[in-house]
Subunit: 225 residues, 2 copies
């Protein structure tokens, strides 16, 4: 399932501590379709040779796999060809995630990625794109449109597929990125909202709906059909 058009295997992490909105630089690094401002990027080399299929330290993963049962992450779903969404993957989910043969993860929280998750990514040669978005509660929510736009560009780049988008619970931040993707796919707004609400359920936020409604997709490269 992996696309062979992209050979680099480094972890590309968007350091949340270095991406306050006021410091967003106009310069950018070409990540294929996605052009990510340089200040967003922290390159971390991954030693590939000895890390393939290395197991995470957790004993839960082999146990779950040994029983022949897969445990998808919270709020897991397929979004599109090569694009998945979920809440935060735990060690019990690693066996399942391996079946997806992921090439990239788009992580939408500002908190550093846990060591055990980093090790999983390294051992499976998965690239990490981190776009730190604060997980505040209403009425103090601020959704940084430019960061959502950059995340969306990474999601739309088929060279990053198969790709998993996740935040903490897979409701708000992930819901906004997927909602913007749907707008880009020309879904009517009521269907975009319906999908958002299916995952956010009782936690659905009017400010997220408004953000998606007003999000302008015109500057994003059109989808090839």
């Amino acid at each position: 399932m992996k696309n062979d058009g992209e050979d680099s295997r480094e972890v590309v992490s968007v350091d949340p501590s270095s991406c306050s909105r006021s410091r967003m630089a106009p310069t950018s690094v070409d990540m294929g379709m996605a052009r990510i401002p340089e200040e967003f990027l922290v390159q971390q080399a991954v030693e590939e040779d000895d890390c393939h299929r290395r197991r995470s330290p957790s004993s839960e993963v082999p146990a779950a796999v040994a029983e022949g049962v897969f445990v998808p992450p919270l709020n897991f779903a397929m979004v599109n060809d090569g694009v998945f969404r979920s809440g935060f993957p735990e060690t019990t989910n690693f066996g399942f995630l391996e079946t997806l043969k992921l090439r990239s993860i788009v992580y939408l929280c500002p908190e550093p990625y846990p060591e055990v998750n980093k090790e999983f990514l390294e051992s499976n040669s998965i690239k990490l794109f981190q776009f730190g978005i604060e997980g505040r509660t209403e009425p103090f929510v601020h959704i940084p449109g430019e960061r959502i736009r950059e995340a969306l560009k990474v999601v739309l780049d088929a060279r990053n597929h198969p790709l998993l988008i996740h935040c903490k619970r897979g409701k708000h931040r992930t819901g906004c990125v997927v909602g913007c993707l749907r707008k880009h796919q020309k879904w009517c707004l009521s269907s975009v909202f319906d999908e958002y609400q299916r995952f956010a359920a009782a936690k659905a936020r009017v400010c997220d709906l408004r953000f998606m409604e007003l999000f302008d997709t015109s500057s994003i490269k059109p989808l090839s059909t």
Copy 2:
């Protein structure tokens, strides 16, 4: 996206009036991986030459497409590579469904398919597999396990992909088929239930959960990895 391994384009409809459980025949017709008892089948020839891209009589479809907006059916979602789920497609959804380049539809209600939907299938060379399951309410629900099993075999046959599973609202009957697919994929039961509930929401039924829990997938051909 279409699989070229299957050239026949006839509508294969499982006539609900001819498939009471007591009359299930042991003979079957080979539909690839799926072997469907002959009594389930009504073959309807489709004149292909002159019907490609023929528009449905509804004026809503061209209007929706003209505005550049797609309207997915109620409760639409992607299940897996080449497999989608939804509620009953209406004429407003036809423009969107065309983008999926469907090869087959698995329809889970006993009611005859509406003429306008049949015309849409014919004009897009989509094969119809109908497995009539009554849409009763609790406590009178009866889920015919054998029919779900036959539907699942059609869903698992990649030669039928891309494929849409639908019933009326995309909650119970569709939820059960997708849940059984997830069991076949070795998802843990709590994740199977979680996905079912995301679509059924306030209408979730304990009898459906129990059906999925007890459904035996051992006789179904293992997934190739």
